[in-house]
């Protein structure tokens, strides 16, 4: 699954060495260009683009990153992402509401940490069971959390409707509730968290996760702390997903609603990382882009081509079938997802430049 092995072998060949360093420079350069573009977008894009396309894309990328750390790096499959998102959203909501003196980033981080701790509890069964048995146990978490937030009014401050409006977002006196403000808040958070996560994945912790993923029995034999590694993965993953959930509620929807964090959301996140590429950082962004942009494109073209003759329900069914087929196709043809396609494209480009 990972590229580490092949890279080590390619390193023996001096001509490959230069291809590789060119490729790495190309990749780093593209990341810088992309970041600059994302930071500059509010100057040109209108509110629709920020609100309906870019903000959900960024937040979905962050959620995918969270799940990818758990599933792609540590090999622990989970369908509880929606639940962890709701923990992050409700925790941050209550922190903003009950401790208004805390600055926004602190509330976000604390909300994430609370979600991470819930993740550790939800991850306890992973010490004894694995594979889709674990999927079932994360489903238990998903359903339990959904029920909890619907059932007990304390979490939503006894609001009469099941959805509650988010408190005003502000940091250091700047109001962040405009589309640009919410976009910049999301972008900053995503960049910071992604940078930290990418470092973590390359650290000893990340290596231990990959060992557990590839074969946990073997990992424990050579002295990798398997239990601690699994729980750490659950903590970090739920922390990231929790922050994403808070952003989804405050920066995207503007309301906290348990229904927007249901099982369908968990499926969506899982599909994003399968399509994007498990065990890869860039895959999260590619997969999230796919999950967010394709439905929007289908909506536009579906409306345009058939002139509104196709009802939205049919279009939704079509989209469902298409996504299902794509999942199967990716699993068969490209188990490492869009990220692998991208990585191959970079290598090809680099060897062309070096020739």
């Amino acid at each position: 699954m990972s590229t580490i092995g092949t890279e080590a072998i390619e390193g023996f060949n001096p001509s490959h060495e230069t291809v590789q360093s060119t490729r790495d420079r190309l990749r780093a350069g593209s990341v810088v260009v992309l970041l600059a573009a994302l930071a500059g977008i509010p100057l040109v894009a209108n509110d629709y683009w920020l609100n309906a396309v870019l903000i959900p894309f960024l937040i979905m990328s962050l959620t995918a990153l969270g799940l990818n750390l758990l599933m792609g790096y540590a090999g622990q499959a989970s369908l509880g992402s929606g639940g962890f998102m709701s923990v992050g959203a409700y925790a941050t909501y209550n922190l903003l509401l009950r401790l208004p003196e805390l600055p926004l980033p602190v509330s976000l981080l604390l909300g994430g940490i609370i979600s991470g701790l819930v993740g550790v509890i939800a991850g306890l069964p992973s010490l004894r069971i694995k594979g889709f048995y674990l999927v079932a146990s994360t489903l238990a978490t998903q359903f339990l959390l959904e029920w909890l937030f619907n059932q007990y009014g304390w979490f939503s401050n006894y609001s009469t409707s099941s959805s509650i409006s988010a408190p005003r977002l502000a940091f250091l006196g700047h109001d962040l509730s405009s589309p640009t403000g919410r976009y910049l808040l999301t972008l900053t958070t995503v960049v910071v968290v992604t940078a930290v996560a990418a470092r973590l994945a390359r650290s000893q912790t990340g290596r231990a996760w990959m060992a557990i993923r590839d074969m946990d029995t073997a990992a424990s034999v050579i002295g990798v702390p398997v239990s601690a590694g699994k729980l750490k993965a659950f903590f970090v993953s739920s922390l990231v997903i929790g922050i994403a959930g808070a952003l989804w509620a405050f920066a995207y929807l503007g309301t906290v609603d348990a229904r927007s964090f249901n099982l369908d959301r968990s499926f969506q996140v899982m599909f994003a990382i399968i399509i994007g590429g498990m065990g890869s950082i860039s895959g999260n962004f590619l997969g999230a882009a796919f999950m967010i942009f394709v439905p929007i494109l289908l909506d536009h073209f579906g409306g345009g081509v058939f002139g509104g003759a196709v009802d939205p329900g049919q279009l939704e069914n079509f989209q469902k079938a298409l996504f299902g087929a794509l999942i199967v196709w990716f699993l068969i043809k490209e188990p490492r997802g869009l990220a692998a396609l991208l990585s191959r494209a970079w290598t090809r480009l680099a060897s062309r430049i070096n020739r």
Partner: protein, 293 residues
């Protein structure tokens, strides 16, 4: 006390309905080691096809036969297109592939046959009858009887017929089975076809109970805890697990629900299943896997 017994019996009978779906899973898992998430959408697809045919005025048995043919075609297609290229991949990959398959089946079935709720009348009267002072739903009794017949038929099929014995050989050791000339692919198609038949039966009974609608796919989520409790490889386990989940759900809804404020049945069976997992990871009747490096 009689209220307790009534709740218990109602729950047990509802559990049989879960078992019906769970049996389909067990069949596929035993033969190919795949946890087939698409079983729920196969139930929907079967019920939807049947109802659409019936609405067109086609005779009951003919409609059932055509539906069965459709299910077998789906089974063959799934084996050809999805399972064959994924042989020897990790179980979790196969599971995710069936997740994709379930989306395809749900999407296509609703594109072709519409998403509106259909009534399905099997001609079973659902008036409660009294047995020993306990009110029992007649429909549930018939469903339980059907499940019983199905289990007996499947046991005979697995233990006495040539195909069934070959299937057990594959479940036991695929390599050895292949080396003595058992055709793996044909047998997978057969087993998925039988699973299609089981989902037809489950689809008819569930459809008659709830109406044929998208929510039928959610029975897969009810069947999962049943499988975990019973074990993925045992039909007996599916039945026992279904009974435990059914009884647990309805008792929890009455006694725990009043303490916690209702609707605990959405998660209760899962928590129960996780508790079982922690004590017996292979389920009550399942076989514990052996780990090799």
């Amino acid at each position: 006390m009689s209220f307790f017994i009534e709740t218990l019996v109602g729950g047990l009978l509802a559990g049989v309905m879960y078992s019906l779906v769970a049996i389909g899973f067990v069949l596929v898992f035993k033969a190919s080691g795949v946890f087939n998430f698409a079983q729920g959408s196969m139930v929907l697809c079967a019920a939807l096809t049947f109802v659409t045919l019936r609405d067109k005025g086609i005779d009951f048995w003919l409609a059932a036969l055509i539906t069965l043919a459709v299910m077998v075609l789906i089974a063959i297609a799934v084996e050809r297109v999805v399972l064959r290229p994924l042989v020897n991949r990790p179980q979790i990959t196969l599971f995710m592939a069936t997740l994709g398959v379930s989306f395809v089946i749900e999407g296509l079935a609703q594109i072709v046959m519409g998403a509106s709720v259909h009534e399905l009348d099997l001609g079973i009267v659902d008036t409660p009858i009294e047995i020993g002072g306990v009110q029992v739903s007649q429909f549930d009794l018939i469903a339980a009887g059907t499940a019983g017949i199905l289990v007996v038929a499947l046991s005979i099929f697995f233990n006495k017929t040539r195909v069934g014995i070959a299937l057990r050989a594959i479940a036991d050791d695929p390599q050895a089975a292949l080396s003595i000339g058992i055709r793996l692919q044909t047998l997978w198609q057969i087993v998925w076809g039988v699973a299609g038949f089981v989902s037809l039966v489950a689809g008819l009974l569930w459809g008659a109970r709830q109406g044929v609608q998208f929510a039928l796919t959610l029975v897969v989520l009810k069947a999962l805890p049943v499988l975990i409790i019973g074990g993925f490889t045992s039909i007996t386990g599916a039945i026992v697990g279904g009974l435990i989940v059914g009884a647990g759900d309805s008792l929890a809804e009455i006694y725990l629900g009043s303490l916690l404020g209702g609707s605990v049945s959405t998660w209760f069976s899962y928590v129960l299943a996780v508790a079982f997992l922690l004590i017996r990871p292979a389920g009550l009747f399942g076989e514990a896997p052996i780990e090799r490096i």
